[in-house]
Amino acid sequence: MVSPIHIITISLGIAFALGIFGNLPKKISAIIMLIAIGAITFISAQWAYALYFGNAETTQIFTAGFKPPYSINLQMGIYEAFFSLLINIIGLLGGIYLFNTLVKQGKNAIIVFLILIMGLNVIVLTQDIFNLFVFLEVQSIATAGLIVLHKNKDSISSGFKYMLATGIIAGLLLIGIIFSYYFTGSLNIADIINANIGLSKGGAVAVFLILIAIVLELKPFPANGWAIDVYQSVKPGFAAIISAGSASAAFFVLYKILPIVPENFYNVISALGIITFIGSNLIGIKQTNTNRLLGYSSIGQMGLLITILGLSPYLGDKLTFIAFAILISHYLAKAGLFWLSGIVKQQNIKNWSNLRKKPVLMVLFGTFIFTLLGFPPFPSFFGKWELIMQLSASGQFIWMALILVGSFIEGIYLFRWFSNSLKSENSKLPEIKISLNKFIPPVIFGVATYGFGYFAGTFVEAAGAINYIPLLFIAFIALIDFLPAWTKNTISIAGVIAYIFYLYPSVEGDLLRQIFLGIFLGGAVITLFSGYYYKGKRLGFYPMALAMFAGLAMLITATNLFEILYGWELMTIGSYFLLIRGKKSLPHGYSYMMFSLGGSYTMMFGFALAFAGFGNLDLQALSGITVYPTLAYSLILIGFMTKTASFGLHIWLPGAHGEAVADIHFMASAILLKAGVFGIILVLLGMGAEAIYAKNILFVLGWIGAISALIGNVAASFQESAKRLLAWSSIGQLGYIVFGLAMMSHLGWTAGLFYTITHFLYKGVLFLIIGGIALKLGTPLMYKMGGLIKKMPFSFIAVLIAIITLAGVPPLVGFAGKWLFYNAIISEGFYFQGVVVLFSGIVAFLYLFRLIHTIFLGQLKDEHRNVKEISVWLLIPVYLLLFAIMIISAKPEFILKPLGNYLISYFPTGALTWNETMVSTALGHWDGYWIMMIVGVMFVILLAWLIITNAKAQKVKQFNMVYAAERPFRPETTHMAHNMFAGYNKALGFLIAPYVTNFWNWISNFVYDTAGFVRRIYSGNGQTYVLHIVAYIMVIYFIIF
């Protein structure tokens, strides 16, 4: 094996050679440099490979033939090899990426670049603290040298600030080193560790100076203005090297010197880290400049890593995994994003929408963003999960909360940026031109994120059962995305059906999971089937839809909390991309993502608390949480309720669903929301209803459900857009379900689960039909429709049956739900919440009538005289659903009986009793079959009677009506549709005043304003930045001593 010393010899040799044999053509010089970096990459790769697989042992290299302290020694262990590999790869790929720039800047730039990479290598390898100082300085000077070669005025001024700041920091480091030498007599890090100088006061100051200098090298907030300016002003390709290479090296230095630091400093280190993580991300919120934004994000990530090191006493043997998973994510994603920034060449994050013109780049962009945010299947997800779990097991709840808050804040701006690029107008932006050397590095890193994601998964015990088959299937569908939609559709349906058969044995005998499997994957088949209506390619639709369904399926089969979160996040990603496909979905998709992100973090926190008490991650951990049970259950429920869009967390839904196209609306509303229901069921089953905290939580939950029902239904009545109407209606319907579950009784759960099923059926019908009509007419606004019954009779019948069911009018099955509710609230004593729910049920008539009337009845508009029935591909699934509704209307026992048998094991009392078709509770009774028969016979008789007495009735034209002997002017003025319930709005409109929206707006404004205020510390003046550094050191000094 090649000795690590040759990393230095090769670099230095080539650098000198390039200088001496100076006048080679620039291109050849650059190629020679790349070959040199390639060679050292090979050396570190070789070592990393050998050390990882145990073919080699950690090796010390002594210079000049002496042993320390009389010589400088380098160490090549597994970590060193890994970090040096990271640095060399970023050097190699970064060099390839920067090839043209380096060639243009000439020989000096090429040499300095090589020296920079070498300096970083030595920083990692060296075991001598003074040598460390020297190469930190080499690195600084090389960096500053490269900055000055950029020759634009911003980079020069930022370079000067950089020099000034790093000069001061290096001076401090030097003082620290010399004092630690004074106390230990050695410069070897191992010797200093053994001397344990932190115990004496003077030694502690020496250690403090070393530590603070290294921390400052990692650019902690707020003493980091100098670094941010550099990120902003240099070429993105170079910023990638600073962010991924230099920062990683500096992080490793901190890791290396950490044993010198006495235990009581650790909390300070984590505090510095978390302040950086939160502060830097907070300021990022206000940022619109791409590179500066990435700078803030980079520094934030470093803050997180510092925190992790500071918390290392709590992380046990998972420390390495956590740190590596998060570091590698940062490394790949940040370098990738900087590289993309160099390709896009747009300073403002709002102008990134031209990235859409290059789908491959867009995919990479998404990959990197999701990697940074810690979504599966990327490594940071696993890292963050283990981090939170380990902290929780050690009882470090405050740190957990702070880390999650910081992560959330990071999500705010990264997602705003990402969704802007997905949806903003891009017609006026220039085309992206891309050369191969700039294209390859980000592609390699993009692919690597997935690879490392898989690799990281193998280290997480709880992830062992994750089924990668669906993910591979999704990848396959993504690869054939160029095919027309119907082929992908067929393959997808086949895949989902196969998966149902594959999964079915695992849920057999568990009715709850069977129901949800039916809703999730059965629903998937139905919606995908309706997807045949789409002509064209539908780029990106199928992988995302399937990701959502795979996530949902994973929820069902999950055997531990980790898999639940994994599936949850997968589903979130998929559904986000589906929802954002609508034309005006930009703000709504963003708000959806924010709530989802926040929800998954609260959920993670709750899971961690459960884990802390229970000791492992099995689903049983949810039963009887012992550590802060009120908080834990509340947080988990809040997490799930972001998907059921319950009151307070609902404001994303109307927009997000209201702008989605027909079949996506079905997926999002009738299927996706049920994931939240499933989660709530799991939590409530674990929590029970006995404990005091459980009673309190259930009380609140019941009211949340009731208020959601009320707000959803009232608001639905005032919508002009049919899709928004349905969206609000979903909020209301999910409110019923949450309310039913909160009753924690046999009847309540029967009602809740019954609604879960029927809502899927009738809402599915409505979404597909209304969506199809909106698609056909080009608008979802109801007052622009009217009289369509004559053009779309099949749609009308479907909607009619669906709304009768939804309204709960006998004889259709919706009545069963109402009846169960009445019985449940009376027997459980949920009177007032119950009245709110029942009142909402009646309010539903308002929007249902509005929906069917303004679309199908009233006056047909002139421009719709030639429209045809909606696509048959939408009608077929609709009629399948209607068929199911009719069956269970006549035979409600098909659902209610097994449901009762299932629930009896959880709620033994208060079950329904059956006498043939008659069902009764302690209070009332009801016979669905006979009611259906009686009403049917009666209806037929009355119809016959009317036909007999009215045989001569003749059809007349549209405007032939009692209009004071006049003809109405136009359909528009005669169709009573716009602002239909004006009087009602006047009386009860206050109920839906946007208090909740205002609340969240206030919060977000507060955060934005805080960010705007805090970031003014970055005055741009180099002197101020030095002052920050000095003040930072003083403050921390006084905190520690």
Partner: protein
Amino acid sequence: MDYFNIEYISIVTGFLLILLGLFAILTQKNIIKIVIGFSLFDTGIHIVMVSIGYIRNRTAPILDETVNIKDAANQIVDPVPQALVLTAIIIGLGVTALMLAYVLKLHKEKKSLEIQNFSDLKW
């Protein structure tokens, strides 16, 4: 304790220089003066380093006729800080030179040496 010995005086001088340098960096508006402040800061550190390695009544760690080779370890001061300070001086020189190069470039950009004129990047 005798405060007027050589190591004490030199170490205090070193720290005073460091503080003086910092003060200059923080208060001077002219960037050349700031660079000079940085030099002072650096020099202060170097003096501190040398004085740390000093041992009373010993000579420089150079093996010439004044030092008995066999008993060198007891006759010379600690050689390591002296070696370190050489390196540090070289590095300081490099940094200062690069800083001055920056000053030149900055002056070329804006025809000004006031540090507050170079705060275009902020927030």
